[in-house]
């Protein structure tokens, strides 16, 4: 369902970004990059409250004509950004939430791996497969799309 999934580190560099290459992927990279500003806005807006009270799920960051961008931030300021196709009207908010939850869980598993150095690019195959499963659902709905390849080796 997601067209692009990105994991951004605390220092706002990407740990993982992957998109379905229906068109140039750079566009998604750009969207994710610009959405970081919105994420920071939302975080700072809630910043007065305790971090505990802050909602992890940020919701719709901003919609564009074709896409909608959703955000999610963990307590360690690791951000998950998901770009979904606007034509997917059936996507409900709670579905997005569940997708982020899955992302978060997979990210935690990656973190638990002692061989993973925080700050490295996420190269875990399990994480990849999980993201693919999230994105591959698009295939069932839109036969024109193809599952994307990892942008980074």
């Amino acid at each position: 369902m997601a067209v692009c999934v990105a994991v951004i580190a605390k220092e706002n560099y990407p740990l993982y970004i992957r998109s379905i290459p229906t068109e140039n992927e750079l566009k998604f990279h750009y969207m994710v990059h610009t959405s970081l500003d919105v994420v920071d806005e939302k975080i700072s807006a809630m910043g007065k409250a305790l971090v505990d009270q802050r909602e992890l799920y940020l919701g719709l960051l901003y919609p564009t004509e074709d896409y909608k961008v959703y955000g999610y931030v963990t307590n360690s300021k690791v951000k998950f950004v998901m770009v979904v196709d606007s034509s997917n009207t059936a996507l409900r908010d709670n579905e997005i939430r569940s997708m982020f939850r899955k992302l978060h869980n997979s990210y935690t598993d990656v973190m638990c791996n002692p061989f993973y150095n925080p700050g490295d690019r996420i190269q875990s195959r399990a994480f990849d497969s999980m993201v693919t499963s999230m994105m591959i659902q698009v295939l069932s709905r839109a036969p024109c799309c193809r599952a994307g390849e990892a942008l980074w080796a």
């Binding site: 034509s87 997917n88 059936a90 061989f115």
Partner: protein
């Protein structure tokens, strides 16, 4: 160097050889020593070897890069085939057999060569050919491997996972392996039943003799199961590594390493030998793993923390990425620590990887951590008939082994479910689910809305409910009336009657239903009111209607509906007032003697009254209470007439005016009517209570209501009015003894008026009902359209 074109088999073979020679796991440079020995094993004259080396460019470069190595191998093949050594012969010589290398390796390689030529997919043979050196300072006394190589010739068990392939290879013979392994524990060099090692291996054997550390390690292991090919290689690489490591002081190396590498060899052996499952952990392997575990974590039930495990497995010199993947596979519960089972699985995977097996995408079943209670039942090697390695070793063996305890299979699901469960503190989407639920209910078959306890609200009904609230609050001071007023709401809350379910789904009814009550059976009136209530629930507000006021008794509920019926049925406030006044106007038990009184009077009245009276007498004998009620009616009517004339007048006047207005206003009118009625009813009792006979407590009215209900139910619509009148008459009964004459006339007049207004309102009601039906139909059609449209936009 010219470009080198290699066939697939050649490519694989060469890469294996290269990795074999790549003792430092650099993947770029083949150790000179190894390469030299390899070439020597090719049984080529030395000068040919030198020539080859020159040709491939190694002499120029001083080392064997991959390309040089490949070229050299090709040249070896060329030389072995008898072709003259030329640079161009690399590519020109077609159908060159793979280079053969003598000695232990030779046989195996020849076997491999044969297998390669036969089936290029013998990846299993890779493991047999060139086990990558574990990279740990393992001292394997098993230089005996050399010897074993020869016996191995006969016992060809190259492809443990691909029995289909390589028919030329004979099945493994345990004696060989046994012999081989027996050597290991024995301390190595002492026993060499298989003498005559090739020159290739001899240096290793000598090297191994110098390694005592590994011997001790090895002695701890029982003879591993058949894995001839592996044994040798397992031994030789360690010995080679030993050679290189010796200068580095083997002693410094942790036993862990040595043991690990030894285990590696063992495991690899086992893997290659087992036809069923390359991922099986044999007993020796398992024992070895357990020992290794103990070195890190003495408590076998404890965990190895991630950092320690990282250190340990880093020694295997596998790339971090692969180690990371192995970790992901083996850390089953994702806790960042390894239990014994997880550790064994991880170790096994490391060994496999070191020996060339590609890592599976999912943890093979045989490696899954067993649950404690299944330890006994789950045989580690219990993988019957699992020829999972038919093709690439990268494919994990079929995970549907029947021998696998079901519990293990449930682990992934449990794992996943636990993952699902271990969500971070997030606001649950229960609200969304709730809304979804509601949205599911509402569009559901409206006719079945009854069963849903979800209160349905219609916006108009809000006003109605407010009215009800007002009425309730307004009549608080009058006890008798409040239950009466309350009861309709009670009834509406509780009863779900099919007849007017349709109205329930229609969110616009409210007033309609109230008007509906005029024409429909009095029983239905209550239903409509009920449905009004239910409607209110499904309105966008989604708030439950006010809690039903306390019902005095179950019987009262029905009677309350009756009251409402009367209230609505009789438009005129007079009658309604009379009706409402009934409960408070309950006199002391009316005497039967009084019963004929009103009956007598009634025939004098209009036809409707006559019919009423006709009914009442009929009903009187039916129920003993009837008489009471009739008396009540008369009394109440008389009282009401006295006090409520003005109001009665008002109502008919109001009603015609309202009738002229649009249905909506009339709807409101109907509501206001009921409101007025209620109010008048409220006021009436007050008046009545002040003035005339003290009204008995509710039980009396209950009786009356009961009776009127009973009589109403069997009656048809036309009786509605009559019952209303009757009720009025009954209510007025107590007052009979007072002013019968006056009341009678007043009653009759009021009855007439009420009847007129009743008919008018009934007509109005039917019109509104029709409108309601139309609107509902429209709504349904729109919904259907919406549903039809939705899938298209859904994409």
């Amino acid at each position: 160097m010219e470009g080198l074109t290699l066939s697939d088999a050649e490519q694989k073979y060469y890469s294996d050889l290269f990795s074999y020679c790549d003792i430092e796991s650099t993947k770029k440079v083949a150790a000179n020593g190894r390469v030299l020995e390899l070439f020597r094993a090719a049984q080529l004259p030395n000068d040919v070897v030198l020539q080859i080396m020159e040709l491939c460019g190694a002499t120029r470069l001083g080392y064997f890069g991959r390309s040089q190595f490949y070229i050299a191998l090709k040249l070896v093949a060329v030389a072995q085939s008898g072709f003259p050594l030329r640079v161009e012969s690399i590519n020109t010589v077609k159908d060159l057999p793979l280079p053969r290398f003598v000695a232990s390796k030779n046989e195996q390689e020849s076997r491999h060569a044969a297998s390669y030529s036969s089936d290029s997919e013998n990846q299993g043979s890779y493991s047999g050919v060139i086990p990558p050196p574990p990279g740990r300072g393992q001292v394997k006394k098993g230089s005996v491997s050399h010897d074993t190589v020869q016996p191995r010739t006969s016992a060809d068990q190259q492809e443990p996972a691909s029995p289909v392939v390589s028919p030329q290879q004979s099945p493994p013979t345990s004696p060989h392996t046994w012999r081989k392994h027996s050597r290991h524990p024995s301390g190595g060099n002492s026993e060499r039943p298989l003498a005559g090692p090739g020159p290739f291996w001899s240096p290793f054997g000598e090297a191994q003799s110098g390694s005592s550390a590994g011997d001790t390690v090895w002695s701890g292991h029982s003879p591993p199961p058949p894995q001839e090919t592996w044994v040798s290689f397992a031994d030789t690489p360690p010995t080679s590594t030993l050679l290189t490591m010796h200068p580095a002081s083997v002693q410094d190396q942790t036993t862990v390493r040595t043991v690990a590498s030894a285990t590696t060899a063992n495991e690899i052996r086992r893997q290659s030998s087992s036809y069923d499952d390359p991922w099986k952990i044999t007993d020796e392997q398992r024992q070895y793993y357990v020992n290794q575990f103990k070195t890190i974590q003495p408590d076998l039930n404890g965990f190895i923390p991630g950092s320690a495990a990282k250190e340990f497995f880093t020694k295997s010199k596998l790339p971090i990425l692969e180690l990371s993947h192995i970790w992901e596979l083996s850390d089953f519960d994702k806790d960042g620590a390894l239990t014994l089972d997880e550790f064994c699985a991880a170790f096994h995977l490391v060994v496999a990887r070191k020996n060339g097996y590609d890592l599976p995408e999912k943890l093979p079943e045989s490696l899954m951590p067993k649950l404690i209670d299944l330890e006994d039942s789950a045989d580690v090697g219990d993988q019957p008939g699992e020829v999972g390695y038919s093709g690439s070793p990268a494919e994990a063996p079929p995970s549907k082994s029947p021998s696998m305890p079901s519990l293990n299979q449930t682990w992934p699901e449990l794992n996943q479910s636990s993952e699902q469960w271990e969500t971070f503190s997030e606001r649950s989407s229960s609200s969304q689910t709730l809304t979804q639920f509601d949205s599911n209910i509402a569009p559901a078959d409206p006719d079945t809305a009854i069963v849903h306890p979800v209160p349905i609200r219609m916006t108009p009904s809000k006003i109605h409910m407010q009215e009800m609230e007002l009425k309730r609050t307004g009549s608080d001071h009058t006890n008798p009336t409040s239950p009466l007023l309350v009861k309709p709401s009670d009834l509406s809350e509780e009863s779900k009657i099919n007849s007017s379910v349709k109205f329930a789904s229609g969110n616009t009814v409210d007033g309609y239903s109230s008007s509906d009550s005029f024409t429909s059976d009095p029983e239905q009136i209550g239903n409509n009111v009920t449905h009004q209530r239910s409607h209110s629930g499904t309105s966008p507000d989604n708030t439950a209607p006010p809690p039903p006021p306390p019902r005095p008794q179950p019987s009262h509920s029905r009677s309350s509906s009756l009251d409402m019926n009367r209230t609505f049925a009789v438009t005129t406030g007079q009658q309604q007032a009379g009706v409402v006044a009934h409960p408070p106007a309950v006199p002391p038990r009316p005497q039967p003697s009084q019963a004929p009184g009103p009956i007598v009077h009634r025939p004098v009245d209009a036809d409707g009254l006559i019919t009423h009276t006709s009914t009442s007498p009929q009903q009187i004998p039916e129920q003993p209470n009837f008489a009471d009620f009739s008396q009540f009616e008369v009394f109440a009517a008389s009282n009401v007439n006295e006090e409520q004339d003005d109001e009665a007048e008002k109502h008919p006047e109001v009603l015609p005016v309202e009738k002229a207005s649009d249905p909506a206003s009339s709807l409101r009118v109907a509501k206001t009517d009921s409101k007025i009625e209620e109010k008048t009813a409220a006021s009436v009792p007050a008046n009545v209570s002040k003035g005339t006979t003290p009204l008995a407590p509710p039980p009396k009215p209950v009786r009356r209501r009961l009776k009127s209900e009973d009589e109403l139910r069997p009656e048809v619509d036309e009786h509605t009015q009559k019952t209303g009148v009757l009720a009025a008459v009954l209510a007025s009964q107590p007052s009979i003894p007072r002013s019968v004459g006056k009341d009678k006339k007043a009653i009759q007049a009021s009855i007439r008026r009420n009847k007129e207004t009743n008919t008018v309102l009934a007509r109005l009601n039917s019109e509104l009902q029709q409108q309601l039906k139309d609107v509902l139909e429209e709504r349904i059609s729109l919904e259907v359209q919406l549903e039809q449209l939705r899938p298209f936009s859904h994409l």
